[in-house]
Amino acid sequence: MKLPKYPLKAEKSLMVFEFTSEGPRGQIKKLVKYSETNLKDLYNLAFGDKDDKTSEINDKIISNNGDSDMVLATVVATVYAFTDKYPDAWVFATGSTKARTRLYRIGITKYLLEIKRDFQVFGLKDEEWEPFGKDVIYEAFLVKRK
């Protein structure tokens, strides 16, 4: 996505990324992690705020730093970096709350045409995966690089 993004750091396997959100609430470090699941080549994508003092990660907190589009664009950038390194990987994502899942759905919908050029995109509805459609409420999302 041709949106502004934050600079990214990662460890060498590109399974953990970090960036710093900047806004009215100051600088907030964000950690993005791709975790293995019980299915081969399928990784769970999750991200949250990192407390620098304790190194604890909170994915329930609402940062309200006024940069949610830029944060999502940066997370999407990690999906590009991750699937460049692991082209056979499936990436699974869901929000920590229904409201957050809805925000992700809105984000995907907003840039769907562009995302679909590079990824197959699925939404989970009634316990079945279907090609991602606009205005459909999904419980989770799954993408794979084309």
């Binding site: 996505m1 600079p7 460890e11 970090e18 950690l31 190194s55 950038a77 920590s96």
Partner: protein, 51 residues
Amino acid sequence: MNIKELNSRKTPIVTIDKSLEKFKKQPLFQDKVDKANEILRKVGLPKKQHS
């Protein structure tokens, strides 16, 4: 590559930071991973892949 080209790249430039290695081993977001495993156990992968 100029700044404009850099900004329009889909794949970002990533700086390697060894201090992040420790998070790779930590069971972060375990509730989400458990939820993903539970969903995937029931539904698996999409039956048909689309182009």
